[in-house]
């Protein structure tokens, strides 16, 4: 009977109590975002645009009219578009292969392609510098240098976002019921027509969602462009950093922040729309039941092509990074690693290796914060609700796109006086890192929480379980795995957070990415080698946490990333 099913989903009378509970759940995340996100960002913008208590909105037009600013805007946009197109072109075959083929080492390979996504942008930049830059692998072998060209940036962006497409599109693709295509074939459609008319429309929203995420990440790219862009290329985010930290031109930085804010808001609105469309009813099946071993020359060469792409695009930069970290002046060895334990380099007050310990502590704290905030938000958003809540849903993604530099600088100028004088406490860094962790937690938890059948909760209630008990007994066991995955993602992105941390980490307590960037900023073989060594350590930590997650992950709980 359908009736019971439809009735359950409908808003019910007596939800006033449920609404109150939901508001209660939402209060903590809302307060968190208001205090540690909206307030600092607003303060920075106000500082830039307010002169003597008067808002100077005219400045927006002035700044945007400057030719160098327009140049930055133009470059930011077109490189993001180009990166997105290139990523789709290279990663869609990969998505197909991961979705439909069964082959040895698939699980490990899936983890491998995800490693770049959680790698700190600083490490990605460094890896490509080692591959394409001065004295890099290509330079040594053929005298080719790409680090001053836009290609280095584009390739690094593809490297970084390959997994976004493979996971988002491939995740859905693997669960599409192949019988739908077979039904089209039985009705007279050719193999190609069946794919075009049945599968492609079903995948469309997932492709759109993935494209928008890639566009968002590349539009706000910081670390990669900072390291590979040189003086010629700079994105909005890099420009904000330059204006804030180097030129101390806060009004310009404030305007740029607003521009980026508007652009990101637009991207997220479109993204939310595509996600909602993706939630429309599709026949989904168990992925494991659909994947087949590749058959015939065509399928085998496709698989080989994808493997080759992964090897060149993903494994090679990572490999070169490791190689450079081991290749000292007197041949291969652990010179640079040993050097990390001494404070003589002069770049820091403490041995760089201490950054590893700092980073781990900060990232653990940030993960805990992100889990609490993101978990509460996801629980509040679980049940279908009105426009307001959906808006909140999109709002949670904002920290991914809003200038981390602005957030970091905002922390410095707002959280330095009572009652919130956090400037000298260690919690400042984890708070900033948790901001980028929360969206991942929400995105991972939400689909799983929404998938829990509400009537299971009702079954528990009828058997005597209070609402809280029902949540603990029914929801929690089902989301435990998602919770762990969310924790892993939050941990990895916290570990790699750079834009905000670079402002607020104290000189005697640098995090890994900050230490890498500082080492790279100094001349000399030794500093360069140490940067490579430190990046390798960071990469290994990220990769290990990810491989552990991959063991937990099942194909049913694909989530968003």
């Amino acid at each position: 009977m359908d009736l019971a099913r439809t009735e359950v989903g409908k808003p019910r009378k007596g939800l006033s109590r449920g609404n109150a509970a939901r508001l209660g759940l939402m209060a903590v995340p809302v307060a968190f975002f208001a205090l540690f996100f909206a307030y600092p960002v607003a303060a920075i913008v106000a500082r830039g645009l307010k002169v003597g208590g008067q808002w100077q909105f005219g400045r927006i037009a002035d700044v945007v009219a400057q030719s160098d600013v327009r140049h930055v805007l133009w470059f930011t946009t077109w490189q993001a578009l180009a990166s997105t197109a290139l990523t789709l072109l290279i990663a869609l075959p990969g998505a197909y292969v991961f979705a439909r083929f069964e082959f040895r080492g698939k699980q490990v390979l899936r983890a491998v392609v995800t490693v770049p996504f959680v790698l700190p942008t600083v490490v990605v930049g460094t890896a490509f510098l080692a591959l394409l830059g001065r004295g890099g692998l290509l330079d040594e072998m053929w005298g080719v240098r790409l680090d001053t060209t836009v290609w280095a940036i584009l390739l690094a962006h593809v490297f970084f976002n390959y997994a976004v497409v493979v996971r988002t599109v491939g995740g859905l693709w693997s669960q599409l019921d192949p019988r739908q295509e077979e039904a089209a074939r039985m009705l007279g459609a050719s193999r190609w027509t069946a794919w075009r008319t049945v599968t492609l429309p079903a995948l469309g929203p997932a492709v759109a969602a993935a494209s928008l995420m890639v566009f968002l990440f590349t539009f706000t790219s910081f670390g990669v462009v900072q390291i590979l862009g040189g003086p010629a290329y700079s994105t909005l985010e890099v420009e904000i950093y330059r204006q804030t930290a180097q030129l101390l031109d806060l009004p310009t930085a404030a305007v740029l922040t607003l521009v980026q804010f508007a652009a990101v808001g637009l991207i997220l609105a479109v993204h939310a729309w595509t996600v909602r469309r993706r939630e429309s009813a599709l026949r989904l099946v168990d992925a494991a039941a659909v994947a087949r071993r590749p058959r015939g020359a065509g399928q085998r060469s496709l698989l080989a092509g994808v493997m080759l792409t992964i090897a060149v695009l993903i494994l090679l930069p990572l490999g070169v990074l490791i190689e450079r970290s081991l290749s000292g002046p007197g041949g291969y060895g652990f010179t640079y690693y040993r050097e990390l334990t001494s404070a003589d380099g002069g770049a820091f007050l403490v041995p760089p290796i201490e950054a590893v310990w700092n980073s781990l502590q900060y990232a653990l704290a940030a993960t805990a914060i992100a889990l609490v905030i993101g978990g509460l938000a996801a629980a509040a958003l679980t049940r279908k609700a009105g426009r307001l809540v959906r808006g909140f849903d999109a709002l949670l993604m904002l920290p991914l796109g809003v200038s981390a530099v602005t957030v970091g600088f905002g922390f410095l100028i707002t959280l330095d006086k009572p009652p919130l004088d956090l400037r000298s406490t260690w919690i400042l860094v984890p708070l900033a890192q948790a901001l980028v962790g929360v969206p991942f937690v929400v995105r991972t938890m939400l689909p799983v929480l929404r998938a829990v059948d509400g009537r299971l909760r009702e079954a528990a209630a009828v058997l005597g379980a209070s609402p809280l008990r029902a949540w603990r007994e029914v929801d929690l066991p089902m989301v435990r795995r998602a919770l762990l995955i969310a924790a892993g993602f939050a941990f990895a992105v916290s570990l790699g957070e750079f834009g905000a941390t670079v402002f607020i980490a104290r000189p005697d307590n640098p995090t890994l990415p900050v230490a890498v960037a500082r080492l790279l900023g100094r001349a000399g073989e030794l500093n360069y080698g140490q940067a490579m060594a430190l990046s390798t350590i960071l990469m290994v930590v990220c990769a290990v946490s990810l491989l552990l997650l991959e063991r937990l992950r099942t194909d049913r709980t694909t989530g968003e990333f």
Partner: protein, 358 residues
């Protein structure tokens, strides 16, 4: 209690002097402008098995949800043991509900599911284990404690769901389409088993189903629902013999309904004169002839009809007849007497199977 609903009376049973275990008074639930439950009154006595019967969308699942506390009433009352349940949350009502698709907890094994309610009520581990074993024996799945629910067949899941609902000894057990997803033969076997089980345990049961066979086999009393209202309430025999109105008649599968004007011992219809039972009031009404009361006679002796279809029903053949005028007729006749399609036969009516509808 509440069983003595008169012939043709279309009303819920009124509350007697002693309140039943469950009483619904004027219970109303609206989804937007639509009333899914519309002033429903119903009494269920202790140890009684009541089956709510109705097509999908008639509000019967909502009725159960309202009693369980999963659906708040917009008006009216739910009383359990005479106590108003307004504001009492589902987990404190002490009623059991078996969901139509069972809703077993997928991450727990069979024992974990059956023991769930016991755990919620703070029963000790030892007692839990004993009770689980006892219940699994009762539902015919001895030793299934450690099996994963995903590995169970539909019938086995149904048994586990039943054991789970019975475990905390609810004062009222509610079943939502208990056998709906099972195949026919299993359903027929289980409905007998359920009836025996409930008789043995003395369980008070409120079940909903759209399957009249299931309802008649299971229930002491059948309540037919239509558009959120109770169309008829009575014993299976009463409802079967005297459907209260055309809706109930058609829902039970009786389609030989026609306009009639009663005068004395016969009614005038487009099919001709039809004899009516004694004591019928004169005047216009709707008239039902059950298929068993449609007798096939030589063409000259009755209403001439063409045979349009024959459906084999196991014990008899349903013969579809097309009279020259008026609505189609269905006759139930013995295998060897069934005419072939295309033949023309005469039809006569037996007063014993003629029912005047309200």
């Amino acid at each position: 209690m509440g069983v003595g609903v008169g012939v043709g009376a279309a009303a819920g049973a009124g509350a007697g002097a002693v309140p039943g275990l469950l009483t619904l008074a004027d219970a109303t639930v609206r989804f937007g402008a639509r009333a899914v439950l519309d002033g429903v009154g119903l009494d269920v006595a202790r140890h009684e098995i009541v089956c709510v019967l109705g097509p999908s969308g008639s509000g019967k699942s909502t009725l159960l949800r309202a009693v369980a506390g999963l659906q708040e009433l917009d008006a009216g009352q739910v009383l359990l043991d005479g106590r108003d349940q307004r504001g009492v949350p589902a987990h404190k009502r002490g009623v059991g509900l078996m969901f139509q698709d069972h809703q077993l907890f997928p991450q727990r094994d069979v024992a974990g599911n059956v023991a769930f309610g016991l755990r919620m009520h703070g029963v000790s581990r030892g007692e839990q284990a004993d009770r689980v074993a006892e219940l699994l024996d009762l539902v015919g799945l001895p030793g299934a404690q450690r099996r994963a629910v995903a590995s169970l067949s539909g019938g086995e899941q149904q048994r586990v769901a039943l054991a789970r609902a019975l475990a905390p000894r609810p004062r009222l057990l509610m079943l939502d389409e208990p056998l709906g997803q099972l195949d026919r033969s299993l359903r027929e076997r289980l409905v007998v088993e359920l009836r025996q089980l409930f008789d043995e345990l003395g369980t008070t049961v409120l079940a909903v189903t759209h399957d009249q066979g299931e309802a008649f086999a299971l229930a002491d009393r059948v309540v037919v629902m239509r558009d959120g209202r109770i169309a008829q309430s009575g014993t299976p025999l009463e409802v079967w013999r005297h459907p209260a109105d055309e809706f109930v008649a058609r829902f039970l599968g009786f389609d030989n309904v026609v306009d009639a004007t009663v005068a004395g011992e016969v009614a005038d219809t487009v099919w001709g004169k039809v004899p009516v039972p004694d004591g019928a009031e004169d005047g216009p009404c709707r008239l039902l002839v059950r298929p068993a009361g449609v007798r096939l006679v030589p063409v000259a002796e009755g209403v001439p009809c063409a045979v349009t279809a024959r459906t084999f029903r196991g014990t008899h053949v349903a013969v579809h007849l097309e009279p020259r005028v008026g609505p189609r007729l269905e006759a139930a006749c013995a295998l060897r007497d069934a005419p072939g399609v295309g033949e023309t036969v005469g039809v006569a009516f037996d007063a014993g199977d003629v029912v005047l509808l309200g």
